[in-house]
Symmetry: C2
Subunit: 345 residues, 2 copies
DNA sequence: GTGAAAGCGCTAACAA
DNA sequence: TTGTTAGCGCTTTCAC
């Protein structure tokens, strides 16, 4: 029978005693703070090594920092988000900071619960990816803890923001399809219920970018938008509606890859072929899109670049909370694959 | 210029003063602990409400619990893991515990960093999903903090484990394919480098289950295993090898859905059709599998059930650290879709 | 450059 | 049932 009592943790006091110095000295070494001679540092480092000491983040947090960065992702299932996360962790792994994620949260309520939980755990900074909460809530969070908002248009003096230019992304798709000879290019958008939030959300920007690009190409008359949701089901239903049109579109620009999946399904079900009868393009360049059997043309947001920027800005803001807020907008690129081609003649 | 100084947090002392009681009383109410009259509870609750007080988890952790559960996922990209997570959060959302995730970690080193970070942050319990660390490390972790290991065979007195029966899962696939009339059923496995770990990993169990099922059906002579990795690339390469066989298999059982994606690609590239020329089945029933254009036959592990069990066991262990360890093994089910059919005649 | 001592917000003994 | 008090492990004045 082994003792179920967990072995007492090595504390800063143990290290101090072992190194024959004060706890203050140890603390200084831990934080690379000013006021410790090289010899002292060496002594302390050795003691830490020998004792296998690791500082307790919770205790540190009570006075200083917890060295923890919280990342909130709206939906772990969306394969786009891991890209962002890679960028964040990549930028942070050389530092003393550790990243922890909130569990996927859909609605506003869930989102608030997660952000509050992170604040309550003394996190040093937060990265909120595509949050749906109203702006005031975001600003409230940002007032309490350094915050970077990712993937949401509309800037705030309270937090930094990073995102890609969805209008440009939509234009890339429309331009590509038009270049192939398409004119009847339809779009499936995510229907935004909350009008105040609307303009800040990427989906609205994509639909907007689609309309503008169509107009710029003189295709005003061909603008055709179906409002559903950014889900596979939404794509399926949207495509069914589009396929039943008298003048069927020859190309569909789905606002997200997952939507394009539903479109592909509906098209196959209708006995039509892609891209022979109809071209399909998505947005996000998710893992789905790259899958061999799918091979979907899609817009790449450079997720890891977004994540890297978010992490960098957050570190800067932690270092200097007073600094003016920054907005970074990255340019998306188009990845053409096998679902787009010239329209049937 | 608004004051960049974050507003001082409301503490338990503020609540106590506002409610005209001691901090102890407030603490008791917070923890639903014994020794507070109903009137006192009401008073305190009201004060908490009025002041918008929320306890600081880090400070609580210094003496008691942090009310935080850490979940380690090996790879956020794998769409199977969110299912587990749903089960975990579903089981925990009614409690005071909050779930936080580690960022996806591939190797042993990353895994150790994440588990240590969670321990250092005073987490009350850990759920490790498909860890690759050697057993001794897992037992070391479990000695320090209540731990549940998910998706790894091989039991330990130090921690509870939850998983599905991969041998049965493999048998389901082989049985299904044999029932359709297939005899030349090949398998693509993940090559395990570490021999000691080997037997505990699901991939080894699946390969083992495949071999046993084939023998049980009298198909010893047809056993055909290709060793690559559980990646799309691995599936592609494995399939290329299988397709080049003199006696080409009529069905491929890929050890994971992502592997099946690579197989589908290779098959299409070879100008063969699925399931007309060759049947393909995967494992995990990921979101991929359900996608309309893919529609892959796959084994469903009931991920959310696994997660629910893990969370339940963890709560039990937190409540009673001394209790004997438990192993839960769930039965997988087969989801048949459009990639499997009778072999060509 | 160094260390003693106070205290972060909370919980757990213990006393009343 | 209630309140007083002493820490938890660490950082931070502020003396020396």
């Amino acid at each position: 029978m082994e003792p179920p009592a967990p072995p007492r943790r090595v504390t800063i006091v143990d290290v101090a005693r072992h190194a024959q110095v004060s706890t203050t000295a140890v603390s200084k070494v831990l934080r690379n703070a000013y006021g410790a001679s090289p010899e002292m540092r060496a002594k302390v480092r050795r003691a830490i090594e020998e004792l296998g000491y690791r500082p307790l983040a919770a205790a540190r947090g009570l006075r200083g920092q917890t060295y923890t960065i919280g990342v909130m992702l709206p939906d772990i299932r969306n394969p786009f988000f891991p890209e962002i996360l890679d960028g964040v962790t990549g930028c942070l792994e050389a530092t003393d900071y550790q990243v922890l994620l909130g569990p996927g949260c859909n609605g506003e309520k869930e989102e608030a619960r997660v952000t509050e939980a992170m604040i309550d755990r003394g996190m040093d900074g937060l990265i909120l990816v595509a949050p749906v909460s109203p702006r005031p809530h975001l600003e409230h969070v940002a007032a309490v803890v350094p915050t970077v908002v990712v993937g949401r248009h509309g800037h705030s003096p309270a937090y930094d923001s990073v995102g890609d230019d969805d209008v440009t992304g939509a234009a890339l798709v429309v331009g590509h399809l038009a270049g192939l000879g398409h004119r009847r290019i339809a779009h499936i958008e995510h229907h935004e219920t909350d009008p105040t939030r609307s303009v800040e959300m990427p989906n609205a920007q994509r639909a907007d970018g689609y309309r503008r690009a169509m107009r710029d190409l003189g295709l005003d008359q061909e603008i055709d938008v179906v409002s559903t949701t950014y889900t596979q089901q939404g794509g399926y239903e949207g495509a069914r509606e589009l396929l039943s049109r008298a003048r069927r579109p020859t190309a569909v620009f789905a606002g997200a890859d997952i939507v394009a999946m539903g479109v592909l399904e509906a098209v196959a079900e209708a006995g039509l072929s892609v891209p022979g009868d109809i071209s399909v393009a998505g947005y996000d360049n998710t893992t789905f899109a790259a899958l061999g059997p799918i091979s979907l043309t899609s817009v790449d947001q450079a997720g890891s670049e977004i994540g890297r920027n978010a992490a960098r800005l957050l570190l800067e803001r932690i270092a200097n909370r007073g600094k003016p807020s920054v907005q970074v907008s990255l340019s998306p690129t188009l990845v053409t694959r096998r679902t787009t081609a010239a329209p049937p003649t």
